[in-house]
Amino acid sequence: MVRSLLSRILSLSVSLVVASMVIFLMLQAVPGDPAAFMLGLNAQPDTIAALRADLGLEGSLGQRYLTWVKGMLAGDFGQSYTYRVPVADLVVDRIGVSAPLAVYALILSVVLAVPIGLIAASRRGGAADWGMMGATQLGIAIPNFWFAMLLVLVFAVKLRWVSAGGFPGWSDPLAAIKALTLPAIALALPQASILARVLRSAVLDTLDQDYIRTARAKGLSQRATVVRHALRNAAIPVLTILGLQFSFLLAGAIIIENVFFLPGLGRLIFQGITQRDLIVVQSVTMLLVFAVICVTFLVELTYLLADPRLRRR
């Protein structure tokens, strides 16, 4: 147990180091000098040099990489080129939109997927099964940003229940949640569809087991068997998928935030890209990759705890 845990922590650290190098090197390849870009066409060479030093652009590649990584570890993500504020401040601001959105979508997708998956599995081959699996096929095929546009069309333009975009801030929690509802639904649809399908086949797998037959034989109803025995044993593959989906959820959130003009991390990355605010792009991307790698690690850990058979290797 300790050995496999240690080896996993080692591979986690290696992943993080390599990820940070890849991201750093990629942004070094961007043509153009951010200092010259900021100061405009008429800037004097010595002003540019001073700003370059100020922004931490001087020094060898290795030195700059180390400075950046050390800063990240200490919570200093660098200074935004365009906003002239610490990137960490921008991130803290934006994470208040992105994180609740991701969690909201995750909750919605679980709430939708669990009953669908269970009902479809317990009525295998029936009309309910076919209908629900057909619906999830459709859910997977729909691009979430297009679904988001349709939601805007129906609920904001036609019915006028919610506004088409923007975010009022958390001072009024109810309004904030309302503003996040359509984006969360749009994000949750494909995730819920995938989850429901995985859950269905995981439950079907466990339904073939002997202990299920025993449970039925001792007089437990089909519903109680599915909920008490099959669902619990199907939890592992479902948990894995949930962990993997976190990465898609983040990526999806970046696109969806753009559809709804939500001031989240995704918008921040895009603004960084268009304004050549590379340090913002670099640090926020690293943060997202860090989050995904850590979630994957946690999922593996739960896996290890949940299934003793996996501890041996």
Binding site: L138, P143, F145, W146, N258, I269, L288, V289, V292
Partner: protein, 267 residues
Amino acid sequence: MLIGAVLTALFAGAALLSLVWVPHDVARLDIAARLLPPSPAHPLGTDHFGRDMLSMLMEGARTSIAVALVAVGIGLGLGVPLGLWAAAARGTWLDDVIMRGNDLIFAFPSLVIAILITAVFGPSAVNAILAIGIFNIPVFARVARGAALPIWTLDYVMAARVAGKGKARISTEHVLPNITNLLIVQATIQFSLGILAEAALSYVGLGAQPPTASWGRMLADAQTMIYTEPQLAVLPGLTIVGMVLGLNLLGDGLRDHLDPRLRRRAP
């Protein structure tokens, strides 16, 4: 499966047709004919620049299919040899290095990195292909290795080794033909994911650049007019859904068809 095959063939056919003929030239703007309703001359109407919607969708199919196809090609071309190599070298450090490397690519949030790649190297269809293709490599490597491992334990592989064949020859002559089915199914799945990814990238302006038509870009253009001209947003979206749905159904059907054990699991 039949529905999937028909849908896929329909879009592939439209894309092929667009190579030689489209109803109207999509690079020519005709402001006088903007936002026309469907008519015999423009079966699906025109957009805000007077471009024929049907022609745009056909050209968009070409863009999407080309991007996704080459991305799958990258995944197959690099991932399968890597996976076969890892399987042949099972248990050695080589296997370890290849599979750890794959895990590493897997750990990256693919769309975030795709956005980064296209942002750094400039938005274009080629960079979109690279960004999507890189993430196909570990998928195919994993599938290839997983499928190849049991085959290495079979008697005829043993016979081939006794006959003096090298690992590379066994991999290409005996292992590869036996895992082709699985690879085809996976390719179908990755193909549909590629279509979705391309649409997302071009929607945020990081895919194919105008005047090349692409479904994602059509949606982005339509978004600003969704209040007045909702049909401009509905048509490209439905097209994407049709294409992806077709591919997914085809993939599922192929999997069930090629693996008899799964047949009872329908749908």
